[in-house]
Structure formats: structure tokens, C-alpha cells
Symmetry: C2
Subunit: 336 residues, 2 copies
DNA sequence: TCATATATACTCAATGTTAGTCTAACTGGA
DNA sequence: TCCAGTTAGACTAACATTGAGTATATATGA
């Protein structure tokens, strides 16, 4: 910080800095009967699995257009709904940044599509996102991996220096909700970051972060991804789990016609929690999010279900309406 | 798009691209009795006013650290609460990008501070953010500038090609809430973008965008800012207005001790709408956001008010609790 | 035909919200 | 000293929303 203030603050001074590589990565989500899926590429057996990504090129008119172009080229998908997630730039979290001692900015995007269309590339595959975050699926019961996570975190808390112990306990309680707190499904990124810091995910060791846990402890069923792509994916899941509550984005994932239960199962799959059926129906009806097509389907097993369609008009009527998961509502804590 | 897929998808390919300049800009907000303030710099009489900004440098360990360093150097403020807003990269919205035909990425951050501390730099000044967005302050009445905005937009709608007319009308209704819809205070960015597209803000002409309105129509009391800084500011206001509803961020702007009414006035100033006093008090009390200090103050005019302090514990108890402005609650639209 | 599975409708208590009114405690000026 | 003005703070009734449960309808398949 030696140069004078005024000489640095001018836009023209921006030119001379070291080259920055900008990488665009896409969390492309779809919903299948088996749960929420994310598109992952593995160009060849040597490379690690990765989200579809590519560098921002000079001819891309906007960042989003650059992302769309890369996804189209790599996977054949023509994206519909797209939103920017976050720009990451930690030097040490990116292999190629470490290798060339430069900086890589990683701009993450979230895209939602109907899975129906065929994919072009042999290298792209849909995976349940719970493959990468097995501790995030609480639909049926506590995930099988939770006890071992809890045990590791308990160890990390126990070995804390005295002054840090309480804050570690609180961080565990906040993110993983244990033992007395409820599960907050939106804190996907916060949970991942905690596991990363402790060293329970393999990429923490790969990145050379100073970890509490030994590399051997970091097995975990969770597969890791190229660079910071698992972090970007966590950001995408967090964002989507939050957004379905106040914007009608689920419908980007639904087929043109669907039943109430299909819609509920999709929301549950995304949020990783189960919902109360009658209340869910009432909410969706009450908000004017759907309308009947008149058709019914008998493929559901029992009584035939009405087929619904999304009321696109709602987007201009009340764009703020969403699905409103009950579990996240605030508990009042009266403190008179 | 000519090179083969696999050769482009590797991280090592990121190196060779054209230099990208990365600019970090800060929307630094504080609350004064006169309303919400934002820190704006004007290095010299020739330069346009700008948010504090500077390039990302190789020695910045993270993007956020780079931002903090720039703000510290330019303004003397040591930022507390900071969050990333968005990364902008439209080629034509940035003067220096046009000048050198390269790309400028603009990463915007939002920072909240107590105004109390003195500022170091002569070039930095606090301005009400409504100076840059006079149409956003609906606390007392409809802003004085609204009629002329409405008139211009009406003209833009009237001159639309037939097939586009309806969508223009809906866009106006959504963003500016007229004539029948209610005002949605969160759509700051959407409103600004509409005004930009129509050509009612001077920077649209400066950027050479193809505008409906002639340059002369774009006077508007609103002062413009360097590059896309007014867009970044709009993003920051939108984010903050949304966030006070579900996170206790207002308290970052409050002094250590404050009265209920001070808190309410601050929230109102940020949101640009007025609130119902008894309900606001009940909400804040009920959420456990504050506790009494035991002290009172008589400086408020009438009956002495109790001085409150923020309960920091709430951050670990329920980080999701916020102030919850009534005007944005959803209206039910029953459609049985 | 009956068990079973799913779809859909209805109920009810608890809780939260909206929009008010009413009272309390201070200041400053007639 | 007393009253008008001003702000603080308590209370309430009407209404809407939510959480959790139960009951009924219409399919399939043994």
C-alpha cells in the first residue's frame, strides 16, 4: 500500500494488474423421481468430476451469456432459468491457482431445467445431489452418516482450547442443530464449510488447508469435486432451498403437468425434509400457484389424481409467492 | 467455438485468456437521523462521484480482504459487517472497459457501519441514498418525482409496438406498483433497470445504450455515479431491504444503546415506508431481539424512553430472525 | 369383494397479524 | 401551577394463517 491514493483509484489503473482467470461454473439442477439431480461432468478417467465450467471469454457479451455458451457446448443443454450465485476467489482453494500462483475467480451460477431432454455429451451425467452431501437428506430419517459426523465434531470440540470451546459448540449447534435445536435445511454451505475446516472432507487436505482431522478421517461417503465445485454446489443448494419459499421456482423443475403429490415430493426432495400433505395442498391452492388442466392420471396407484399446471400469470401477479416450508418458520421466543 | 471440447474444459486452459480487470466496489451504509447514508468519493472535481473502489490485487488473499483493504486506504474506515452483492460484467456498462476494449468485472459488496467514527479522507462524504434514488422514499408521501416518472413510462408504453405493449404495462405495474398494485420496496434494482432501459437516467446515454427517451429527458433529480456504481448501489439497497426482514442486520447500523422509536425510524428509513408503531414494538420484543439496559433517556421529547441494546445472543440462538416489515407480507389470493 | 393405496376434503385449536384505542410520563409555555 | 403538546408504551378485537389431525372418495389387485 505504498502508491498514492489518487493514482490508484482511477479506472485506468485497473489495466496493469496481473492476469486474473475467470471461471464460470454451473450448478444445473433437475428433479427426477429419485430426487434432486445435478449435472456433473467427467471429461476422462484421470480428471476429477466437475460441474460444467469454462473460462469467461472476451467475446462473451455478459457473464451469464458466457455461462450459457459453455453449458451449451459442454452438455448440449439450452438453459432456461439461470441466476448468479456467488464469486469465489480464495487463492488456496483452487488447484490451478496454486499451480500458477495466479488468481482464479470462480463465478458460480444456478440453473434449473426439466430433466426430460436428452443430453448430448457422453461425459455429463445426472447425479443425486445427496451423493455429494449425504448428510443433507433428512426426508425419511436421520442420514446414516450423521453419527460419524457427530462423533468427529464432538472430538473437535473436546480438543478445543478452553477459550474456543464454547464457540465451537455453538457453531455445531447452529449448523447441525444438535442436540436440541431443529434442523435448518438452508445451512448447506455453513455445514460444508465447517466440515472443510475440520478436515472431514477430502478436498480440505487436497487444498493443503490446516485441518484438525487427519487425512484418513476424511473418507466420508461424500464424493468430492474438482476445485471448489463442491462449495459452489453447496451454495446452489442453499440458495435453492431458500428461494423456493418466496419465489415460485420449483415449477422450473416440474413437467408441464403434474399432480399435487409430485409437486410435494419435489419440494421435499429439494429441501431434504418431509411436509404435511394437507397443509401443503392448502398452501399451494391458496396462493393461486396452480390451476387444473381438467385431466387426471391413474398412474399414481390409488385414486386418480388431478393433473395441474403452473399458473404463469402468478409471476406477474405476485412474483414473491413461494412454497413456504413450515419447518423454517420462526419460533417466537417471548422474553418479556 | 471451434476448439475441441476436451481441450477447453481443463483448468490449465484458463491461463491464456485476455486480461480481465477486477474492480471491487463497496456500498457502505450507515444510518443517521436524516436517513440512510451511503459513502461516496469524489477524488477531484473532474472525476464523477463514485463508490469507494479499487482493483483486486494479487496480494489480496481473498476478495473480501481486498475490498476491506481498499476501503481502509481510501476512506479510513475499518469495516465490520460485509457481504458480497453481485458480480457485474456487462461490457458496455463500464467506461474503462469500453475505452480499452477489455473486460471489467465489477464485484459489489455491501458493508454496514455505525456512522459515529470520523472519516479520514477529505474525498469521502456521506449522502442520503435517496439522493441517488429519489423515487424510493415513500415514508411521508409519494415522492415528488413520481408523477414525471409515471408520465415518461406511460409514454414509453404508449409508443410500444402492439405485441410488446402488454409486457411493458406489466413491467411497470410490477416495479412501480401503479396504478392499483402496492409498492414493493425491495424492487430497487428492477426499477432502476427499467429507468435505465427507457433512458431516463443519464448513465444510459453515457453508456451509449439504445434508449427510448432522448438524452434531454434524462435529467431527473437523481445524480449519477461513476461506471455502474448506481446499479451496484441499487443492488445493495435491494439486498438490505430484503435482509432486514429475516436477519437482524439493522443493529449493525444502530448505536450501542437506542430507543424503540430510533430503531423503528431506522428500519423505516431503510425500507422507505412507514410502519405501525405498536406492531413494530411487539414484533421486536417478541422476537427477543433487544433487551433493556435499565437506563432511560429524556432527549426524545415526551415521556422518557427506555434505552435498549441488541441481544447479540440472538445471532447464535436464531440467526434467521429479522424485523419483518408488514407491507411485504403476501396477500392470499384464493382461487377455488 | 375386500384389503390397500393414494387422492382429496374437512375440522379445530393455536398462533400471528392488522389496525386500532387508551393511558403514562415527560417538557415548555401561558 | 396547570394545560397543551409530545412521545412512550400497554392493551384489544377482528381477522388470517398455521399445524396437526381425521374422514371420505376412487382407484388397483388379490
Amino acid at each position: 500500500m505504498s502508491r498514492s491514493e489518487s493514482s490508484r483509484a482511477q479506472p485506468s489503473q485497473l489495466v496493469g494488474q496481473d492476469a486474473v482467470a475467470v471461471e464460470l461454473s454451473a450448478v444445473i439442477v433437475s428433479a427426477s423421481p429419485d430426487g434432486p439431480m445435478v449435472l456433473v461432468r467427467q471429461p476422462d478417467a484421470q480428471s476429477p468430476a466437475a460441474l460444467p465450467f469454462g473460462p469467461l471469454e472476451p467475446f462473451h457479451r455478459t457473464i451469464e451469456e458466457g455461462l450459457r455458451a459453455w453449458v451449451e457446448e459442454l452438455t448440449g443443454y439450452d438453459l432456461g432459468y439461470v441466476e448468479q450465485l456467488y464469486t469465489f476467489g480464495d487463492a488456496n482453494r483452487h488447484a490451478s491457482a496454486r499451480a500458477r500462483a495466479g488468481r482464479v475467480l470462480s463465478i458460480g451460477y444456478l440453473a434449473l431445467i426439466h430433466e426430460a431432454r436428452p443430453r448430448r455429451s457422453q461425459n455429463s451425467n445426472w447425479h443425486s445431489w445427496y451423493r455429494f452431501f449425504p448428510w443433507e437428506d433428512w426426508r425419511n430419517a436421520e442420514p446414516a452418516i450423521m453419527p460419524s459426523i457427530r462423533e468427529s465434531i464432538d472430538g473437535w470440540i473436546a480438543e478445543a482450547p478452553r477459550d474456543e470451546r464454547k464457540s465451537r459448540e455453538e457453531r455445531m449447534r447452529l449448523t447441525f442443530g444438535l442436540p436440541d435445536e431443529r434442523w435448518n435445511e438452508e445451512l448447506v454451505l455453513e455445514r460444508y464449510e465447517l466440515l472443510y475446516e475440520i478436515g472431514l472432507v477430502p478436498e480440505a487436505h487436497r487444498d493443503g488447508a490446516s485441518c484438525w482431522a487427519p487425512r484418513e478421517a476424511a473418507i466420508m461417503a461424500a464424493d468430492s469435486l474438482h476445485a471448489d465445485h463442491r462449495r459452489i454446489l453447496a451454495t446452489g443448494i442453499s440458495r435453492l432451498r431458500g428461494k423456493i419459499k418466496y419465489r415460485p421456482v420449483v415449477f422450473e423443475l416440474m413437467p408441464p403437468r403434474f399432480t399435487f403429490l409430485q409437486l410435494q415430493r419435489t419440494v421435499e426432495a429439494l429441501a431434504g425434509v418431509e411436509l404435511h400433505k394437507p397443509n401443503f395442498r392448502r398452501l399451494v391452492e391458496h396462493q393461486g400457484l396452480v390451476e387444473e388442466t381438467g385431466a387426471v392420471t391413474s398412474k399414481t396407484g390409488g385414486r386418480p389424481a388431478r393433473l395441474l399446471r403452473f399458473r404463469r400469470e402468478i409471476l406477474v401477479e405476485r412474483p414473491a409467492s413461494g412454497i413456504g416450508l413450515p419447518p423454517l418458520r420462526q419460533r417466537s421466543t417471548s422474553r418479556r
